[in-house]
Amino acid sequence: MSVRVQTGPFDAQAEADALRAGDLEVGAVVTFVGTVRDLNDGDAVATLELEHYPGMTEKALTTIVDEARARFDVRGVRVIHRVGLLAPGDPIVLVVVTGRHRGDAFDACRFVMDYLKTRAPFWKRERTPEGERWVEARAADDEAAERWR
């Protein structure tokens, strides 16, 4: 199972180990972990709530993973995204890619994150000293995704 949505934490090391287990063609393992920052747009963040669109979420992530596998010479791709209530420092998302060489593994991992940031149906709601607010999408994320076109 290459994509997963869950409320609990993930074990990045165990996921990376499982992905490359028994595959001796793997020469490169690239892992990305996104974590909750304590500051966003200048305001302290107390907690973060992640909402998603059940039904679409796994389909969207699977589409992104399939696209990465079609574009890059990689051996394995795994994505885990958490939903629900999170605090600063908590891991939100994990992307692991194994490949024969590092170039394609780096590219594929970055591609998955860039597409996930613009195409996977997750939304963050922050609680700050000024109250709750929905996080605004960043133009930089659109630009990052555009680079792969």
């Binding site: 996104g34 992640l50 909402e51 998603h52 669109y53 039904g55 679409m56 389909k59 969207a60 589409t63 995204h81 939100i92 998302v93 994150m113 996930l116 940031k117 613009t118 195409r119 996977a120 149906p121 997750f122 939304w123 963050k124 709601r125 929905w134 996080v135 605004e136 999408a137 960043r138």
Partner: protein
């Protein structure tokens, strides 16, 4: 709208509103009657005519994403009875 009409199984689509849009519109989902095949853009335009938050949130200038049956869609994407059409703000996961 033809909520509960005998032919509702085939002539309605399910509309879904998510995140900030759900809060602004005060609705998470609804059954929505369609007269055969239509498009994402046509539904959006009709919803806007409800006025108030519908008019402002669905205005042409507002950044909005739409998915039809869980796939990202554009204004031209066709919508048929039985489809699920979701409206939501630009995503902010990861």
């Amino acid at each position: 709208m033809m909520r509960g009409a005998p032919d509702s199984q085939v002539s309605v689509v399910r509309l879904v509103y998510l995140a900030r849009l759900r809060e602004a519109l005060g609705a998470s989902h609804e059954r929505y009657a369609v007269d055969g095949a239509t498009t994402v853009g046509a539904i959006r335009e009709t919803l806007r005519t409800r006025g108030g938050a519908w008019e402002s949130e669905l205005a042409p200038g507002r950044a909005l994403r739409v998915a039809v049956n869980h796939d990202l869609a554009t204004a031209d994407t066709p919508v048929a009875p039985g489809d699920e059409v979701a409206f939501f703000p630009p995503v902010t996961g990861g």
